[in-house]
């Protein structure tokens, strides 16, 4: 590193330490830029792939009201993906490059979306638990040091709270319904609980990049801290539903003032990340197909725009 760069980096660090925002044209260390591109694009991919498990139930929602709600929610996820892709683009990466990385499997997305949505109760569990965990992760990002990311997250978080509430309401209706409906809700909780806890990422002891991200004010709380908060918040909600969290080690720890909970099966987590989850191939294939099927639309729109532009230019030339 040259003395000039060292000076710039020292200034950057001091700036971030003062809780100031970094904007796209400001100087930033390469590693900061790379970390953000990776994180924001993965986040965007997660929103887009996250539309698939729920899209599965739009045509099978139990009522018109539920269908309209689910449609609105899935449309929101698309919007969140778009805010985030735009934020990442301000760092110099192109949309095409990001999509390419997703489609070739180079870029990751949240592994939670590689689980199937088997029953209607899964729409409840996904909203309540998956969106609940996502909110826990995302709220601190509203204060992250990179301006465009922080601003995108403010919008996302505002919209996300309806997602969680509607999910909880689906669970509540099922839990208060017939014994079969309640069993369906319990089954969904059983399947989504552990993958939701995994959404916070590896334990702090196994999360090598966390310290740097914390120093850069990209990350504000550790994985284990956020996971604990999520458990503490969710256990009373499960009690209110009259459902049982599938963890025999779960109990209130008076001394800590938190719930203790069981060991997470990290082997499963890494296996799903590696591409061996129940739906990895299906999700990626669906994204690639959508992209390829849309190619002619993108081309046609471009051709139309060029034609209109040419007409306009002609008209101006003739008029002159």
């Amino acid at each position: 590193m040259s003395p000039v760069e060292m000076n710039l980096e020292a200034r950057f660090d001091a700036y971030v330490a003062e809780e100031k925002k970094i904007e796209p044209k400001d100087w930033m260390p390469d590693a900061y830029r790379k970390t953000l591109i990776r994180q924001i694009s993965q986040h965007a991919h997660s929103e887009i792939v996250g539309m698939l498990p729920e899209g599965n139930w739009i045509s099978r929602a139990p009522s018109l009201k539920r269908k309209a709600i689910l449609l609105a929610k899935v449309q929101d996820e698309a919007g969140h993906g778009l805010y985030l892709y735009s934020a990442a683009e301000t760092l110099g990466v192109t949309r095409e490059q990001m999509l390419d990385d997703l489609h070739t499997g180079k870029a990751k997305y949240s592994s939670i979306f590689n689980y199937p949505t088997l029953t209607w109760a899964d729409m409840g569990a996904v909203g309540w638990l998956v969106d609940g965990a996502a909110i826990m992760n995302q709220v601190p990002l509203c204060k992250c040091s990179y301006g465009p990311y922080a601003r995108a997250m403010v919008r996302v978080c505002k919209e996300e709270s309806f997602h969680q509430r509607q999910g909880f309401q689906v669970m509540l209706n099922l839990a208060q319904g017939t014994p079969e409906q309640k069993a369906m809700a319990q089954d969904a909780l059983n399947r989504w609980w552990w993958p939701s806890l995994m959404m916070f990422g590896p334990n702090d002891s196994d999360s090598p990049h966390s310290a740097q991200s914390m120093k850069w004010n990209i990350k504000r709380f550790s994985n284990d801290e956020l996971r604990q908060r999520f458990v503490d918040m969710t256990v009373p909600q499960a009690e209110l539903l009259g459902l049982t969290i599938p963890d025999s080690d779960l109990r209130w720890n008076e001394e800590r003032g938190h719930y203790d909970f069981g060991e997470i099966q990290w082997e499963e987590f890494y296996n799903v990340i590696k591409g061996n989850g129940p739906c990895n191939k299906e999700r990626l294939a669906a994204r690639v197909k959508a992209h390829e099927d849309g190619a002619w639309v993108r081309e046609a729109a471009n051709a139309y725009a060029q034609k209109q532009q040419a007409k306009k230019t002609n008209a101006t030339t003739h008029a002159a």
């Binding site: 904007e23 044209k25 400001d26 100087w27 609105a72 449309q75 929101d76 919007g79 778009l82 805010y83 735009s86 683009e89 192109t94 949309r95 095409e96 601003r151 995108a152 919008r155 919209e159 993108r298 081309e299 729109a301 471009n302 051709a303 139309y304 725009a305 060029q306 209109q308 532009q309």
Partner: protein, 97 residues
């Protein structure tokens, strides 16, 4: 590569949240032309009545001041405190001026 395979251009989106306020930058998006950019902006940025009017501007049409010039550009205003009303200490009797 033919030009039709190129990525749609980037547009910056500005939204007037209600009548009487100015348009404020909301974000950006890709679209083939201005008409499509407005349509997309409606779907992406105004799903909850966030706006009553939308402007879209091709991102490359925006000229911006350089962050490196921040000091030269904005510092001259720094020492002109007399431009602010609080600079003037007036007797308490004229309390609402």
């Amino acid at each position: 590569m033919s030009s039709t395979q190129h990525e749609w251009p980037l547009w910056e989106v500005f939204i007037r949240s209600r009548q009487g306020l100015g348009h404020k930058h909301a974000g950006s998006l890709h679209a083939a032309d201005a008409e499509m950019a407005i349509q997309n902006a409606r779907d992406v940025y105004t799903r909850r009545q966030e706006g009553v009017s939308i402007w879209v501007v091709p991102a490359d049409a925006i000229a911006a001041s350089s962050p490196d010039d921040k000091e030269v550009m904005f510092d001259p205003a720094n020492d002109k405190v007399y431009r602010h009303p609080t600079f003037y200490k007036l007797p308490d009797e004229v309390n609402n001026m």
